[in-house]
Amino acid sequence: MYEKDGEKYFVVDGHTHFWDASPENWVEGQEQYAKGWIESFYGYHQLGPEEYHWPMEKYQKYSEETMMKDLFEDGYVDKAIFQPTYLKSWYKEGFNTIEQDATLAEKYPEKFILNGRFDPRDGEEGLRQLERDHERYGIRGVKLYTAEWHNGSKGWSLKDDEAKRYLEKCEELGIINIHVHKGPTIWPLNKDAFDVKDVDDAATFFPNLNFIVEHVGLPRIEDFCFMATQEPNVYAGLSVALGALMHSRPRFFSRVMGELLFWVGEDKMLWSSDYAIWHPKWQVEMFVDWDYPEGHEYDDFPRLSTEGKKKILGLNAARLYDIEVPTELRLPEADKDTQSVEPTVS
């Protein structure tokens, strides 16, 4: 919970990791890719305020104590969602698997929500694994990494028939929150790797599932926004937008926020720190203080009220994940109707 100027914010961090990218975990013969991956992450890390930068060694592998302190003692987070990223082609035990995350999630069940993953290229066995993960961990969401390498294939699409079978299984099991990461190096390489059209397809085909596009489709934010206006079940995951731009490029951040507020709207935007890429503390503080800079270029963007910030920082995610929000942290009009936050119709 974060408190500022008499206002209290319930904070759900929608995208966190507990990763191991230490050299001991690099797959033999794939060291350059494992190293390149964490170095790319480290580049993003450095776009945050300098006082929050870690040395590379700590960044490769951090402890349970570090994570618990950063999120829940210092970072104002009430509930954090774990999103796994396997990358087993490069990391022996995986970069950040559900098992790694579960070591913390099972120890602090009141603090974490554990999400799973699937990869349609795993076929029947993958479907069984999804069922087992659901049974064992009670997952309500998955993180999909369509650019992940696997047995010589360098990615997949949500449009694939195999992917549809998995999404059907999710619907059947009640895994309703589908987080999709749009990343580089997806196959085939001569197409646009960040193309979000496959999410559009899947969102139309599965109206009962929520699709949260992580990093708001950056750097294809225009394609993402255009899709999100048409699909009621598509949401914006804000991690890179805040972490990479708010501190290092504040004017651009304000333009991006303005566009997102106009096209997607404050009821469908979800904040997350993307820990340990960035620390949640400065993001929460800076976002609560945020307003458009001086200048006419921002004149016709929608304003963001305290209420809107509360939604983005936690109440929207609480709605998607059925998280119980303490009464004093809810919005006034939601009081009588449990924790649900209905979009205000203008």
Partner: protein, 233 residues
């Protein structure tokens, strides 16, 4: 004899297709050597995993740009510190092409379609920038809808817009309407405001992406490229 300035000038005509800015301004050119008409250029990018397709285009375009300079007999471009450096450098310098370099990972045709997609985005973005400037000067959206290219005052924004427009093969004659969609159709008077609204989103995307890439490149290398160094000297 070919000068460094001539080569850098030629390279400044090569743009990052996603960011719509010259690779020299972006500080992607990290090394340049000229010896007896043989030119050798090194390129670098913001991350190890920058999309290989766009990376390939820049390497290939850089080679072509250098070969167009009078006096250049041979040109070699090497992309450094990238997960697909090997494939890309071989594809460009041995003339195997993108499909040849990544035989198992593409589905034809080569990169043409992708390039067109991003040229259209660049066109939309540059048009928005120009129109925004004209609106700030007191013109109304209705004025813009009625204007032809010949009516627009000459400016840097106008020149860039014309350049991107010509690249798409659209009409750039004086009598052609100023505000057209990427297929060249005039945007009707009542649709101009909505058209520009979406165009602005495209521009935010391209420019925001460029800012992000500049930040990542600085975090990765912390030193200026060849263009930046020669400007300081």
């Amino acid at each position: 004899m070919t000068s460094r300035a001539e080569i850098l000038d030629a390279l400044s005509g090569v743009r990052d297709p996603e960011l719509d800015e010259p690779i020299t301004d972006l500080e992607f050119v990290s090394g340049l050597d000229i010896e007896d008409g043989a030119v050798f250029v090194r390129l670098r990018l913001p991350t190890y995993y920058c999309a290989p397709n766009f990376s390939y285009m820049m390497v290939a375009d850089a080679k072509e740009a250098m070969l167009s300079v009078p006096g250049v007999k041979s040109a070699r471009v090497v992309l450094e510190d990238h997960y697909a450096s090997g494939e890309i450098n071989a594809g460009v310098n041995d003339g195997r092409g993108f499909d040849g370099a990544f035989a198992d990972e593409t589905e034809g045709p080569d990169l043409k379609e992708l390039r067109t997609t991003f040229r259209r985005k660049a066109f939309v973005s540059r048009q928005e920038k120009l129109c925004r400037a004209l609106l700030a000067d007191g013109l109304s959206p209705e004025d813009l809808a009625e204007m032809t290219l010949g009516d627009a005052p000459i400016s840097g924004e106008f020149d860039t817009y014309l350049d991107r427009r010509a690249e798409l093969g659209l009409d750039v004659s004086e009598g052609a309407p100023l505000v057209v969609d990427p297929d060249g159709n005039r945007v009707p008077r009542e649709a101009v405001v909505a058209h520009l609204r979406f165009a602005r989103l495209t521009r935010v995307s391209i420019e925001g992406n460029a800012e992000l890439c500049r930040g990542l490149l600085a975090a990765r290398y912390g030193t200026p490229g060849v263009r930046g160094k020669e400007k300081m000297a």
